[in-house]
């Protein structure tokens, strides 16, 4: 696992549900066919009402028209990110669009599990309301060992909550990699 994640921030509000992350009409594409998989990148976060997309200014599409990936690789959000349906297509779509990490005040349980167990993106939590201070487009640098995020644009550094119990699964790259390492799949 890399020890530094650096990229541009995309800022969202609270209660971003999985229908906004990937609207239900797009759930029909294959998750293994490389051509169809690209569509998940194209439509990632396409359900967010435009006024709330890319805060504080808003009206910033996450993925440019005609593109299959985003310029933004770190998502900043408020409370309860990923609420709603259990679709694993949601963290998958973010990964396909190029997202490496999310920093939110809190997550819905299923989305959080999916991020970790599927090894798609790293879901960091922080007690700080970063969505109020970070602006879409700011350059961020996450230090995975130190559990900090530095805003290179503003010069400020913030503490992230430690990943705790799930760090080992995140580090292994998902539940299967972890279970192999720990010999948990041998029982079956």
């Amino acid at each position: 696992m890399e020890s530094i994640i650096q990229g541009k921030a995309f800022v969202l509000g609270r209660n971003i549900d999985t229908d906004q992350i990937i609207p239900a009409e797009h759930l029909v594409y294959s998750l293994s066919d490389p051509e169809e998989v690209k569509l998940y990148g194209k439509f990632a976060l396409s359900g967010v009402p435009l006024a709330q997309s890319g805060l504080p200014a808003g009206n910033i599409p996450f993925v440019q028209e005609g593109s299959f990936a985003s310029d933004y690789t770190i998502i900043i959000a408020g409370q309860n990110f990923g609420c709603g349906s259990s679709r694993e297509h949601a963290p998958f779509a973010l990964q396909v669009a190029g997202v490496k990490a999310i920093i939110a005040e809190s997550y819905a349980r299923i989305f959080y599990r999916n991020c970790v167990d599927g090894g798609f993106v790293i879901p960091y939590e922080t007690a700080i309301q970063l969505a109020e201070t970070v602006k879409t487009g700011d350059e961020l640098k996450i230090d995975i060992k130190a559990n900090t995020v530095e805003n290179l644009t503003s010069g400020e550094t913030y503490q992230l909550n430690a990943l705790g119990d799930v760090f080992n699964i995140v580090e292994a790259g998902g539940i299967f990699a972890y279970a192999r390492k720990e010999n948990l799949m041998a029982q079956s």
Partner: protein
């Protein structure tokens, strides 16, 4: 140490006497549920991780109920069904309910109950966030993603963090103008959409235990709308009678110890409560129907796992009997069985089906339909600036189709009364 019902069920599944809240435990899974949207990617991951030719851990314990995108011309949706069919055949799954055959059932959470898969004391995981519905049967049910489901398919196991529990007690008698939907929307308005994140929501009290199983399922169904891991109601005679009418499989009954620790305890008096809606665009955006009365609607939708059961239609029929709707009104039975019951269940000597038809409603084929928007040819899908009163469970932007549409979540009584007037209407006006 005293434990909640949820702790006891998880302890049993972990082969332990006691589990602490907050600890991660590996559970033996009793049933894995999947459907047409999440089944194909789950099977893909299973094949990739366990290798082609790998066998599922226990074919009897895998239940595959296609229900989401059923009656559509969308070819991707058809391909998903083909993938389910192929996997079910390869793995010889006895509990696959194929579309287009007389095995087709409809919305998975309701079909699980009808087919006797809901057994007190057991652990069910499903690739659908409303898997918590089954908690109405004194069991643990929770939603997971495809990777976790694939892991269970191969191993029969999954890790879970033992949740703290929030207790919601409803005292008093349930008035005839309220349904379980009003109770859960009341709670959601109080705790918010993340008020129960990573926790169990346990329901008890006189009003809850007076409800039929289907109404209890509405409560546990929407535990996820508060972010809950599971919703749960202890077994009583009503539960046992229902379960025994569906299956002869053995089960174990657990109850919370009187001294068990809870994150919170909240009491309501059902007899003092009012009909409520959740305003756009969040299930916790509660308001009384009285305070919203007169809000113009363009559609009424009575369906889904939370609002398309026979009990829901019985309530709607009480209001719609002898009336005419003034806006397009979709009646979407959750399952084939519910659709059949509409023909045989009578109210004032008339079948529910003819009551709805005479009122001018359209009755759709059983599936999830527009509850989650779906392909553009889906029955009841919202378009443009539709304002929908709906018995479904989510009203996030775009959930029922159009991103510009507004959805008011309501009980079947309120949805039916509003269909008559074309405005949000308190059902007491028609009772």
């Amino acid at each position: 140490m005293e434990q909640t019902i949820t702790q006891k069920i998880l302890a049993r599944a972990a082969n332990r006497k006691f589990v602490n809240t907050g600890e991660n435990v590996w559970l033996n899974v009793d049933v894995l549920l999947t459907h047409d949207v999440c089944g194909p990617p789950t099977f893909d991951i299973f094949n990739q991780e366990f290798g082609e030719g790998a066998r599922v851990w226990d074919p009897e314990k895998v239940v595959v109920l296609p229900d989401h995108y059923i009656f559509t011309a969308n070819e991707h949706a058809h391909r998903n069904i083909d993938l389910l069919r192929k996997f079910a055949k390869e793995q010889n799954l006895p509990n696959y309910y194929d579309v287009g055959t007389d095995r087709y059932r409809g919305v998975c959470h309701v079909a699980l109950a009808e087919e006797g898969f809901n057994l007190p004391g057991t652990v069910l995981f499903g690739t659908d966030s409303h898997t918590c519905t089954s908690g109405a049967f004194g069991m643990f049910g929770s939603g997971i993603g495809n990777t976790d489901a694939a892991f269970i398919l191969g191993t029969g196991k999954l890790w879970e963090k033992v949740p703290e529990s929030m207790l919601f007690t409803f005292d008093g008698e349930m008035p005839e103008y309220l349904s379980a939907k009003d109770l859960i929307l009341q709670i959601l308005g109080d705790i918010g959409t993340d008020g129960a994140t990573y926790r169990a929501m346990e329901f008890n009290g006189e009003a809850i235990h007076s409800l039929p199983m289907e109404e209890r399922m509405t409560l546990t169904n929407m535990a996820i709308e508060g972010g809950g891991m599971n919703g749960i109601i202890a077994v009583d005679e009503i539960t046992e009678a229902f379960v025994k009418s569906k299956t002869s499989k053995p089960y174990e009954i657990f109850t919370s110890d009187p001294g068990a620790a809870y994150f919170s305890k909240t009491r309501y008096n059902a007899s003092e409560m009012e009909p409520v809606v959740a305003k756009p665009h969040s299930p916790d955006n509660r308001a009384t129907v009285q305070s919203m009365k007169g809000t113009k609607i363009t559609k009424s939708y009575i369906g889904s796992c939370t609002g398309g059961k026979l009990a829901d239609f019985k309530l709607a029929a009480k209001i719609l009997s002898g009336q005419r709707v003034s806006v397009p009104t979709n009646i979407v039975p959750a399952t084939v069985k519910v659709a059949r019951d509409l023909e045989t269940e009578l109210y004032n000597g008339k079948s529910l089906k003819s009551i709805f038809e005479d009122a001018g409603c359209s009755i759709a084929l059983p599936s999830c339909a527009a509850c989650l928007g779906g392909p553009t040819d889906t029955v009841g899908r919202s378009v443009d600036r539709d304002v929908v009163v709906s018995t479904t469970n989510r009203n996030f932007p775009g959930r029922m189709g159009s991103k510009q549409a507004e959805v008011y979540l309501a009980s079947p009584l309120t949805a039916a009364a509003s269909a008559i007037t074309g405005k949000l209407t308190d059902p007491r006006n028609y009772l």
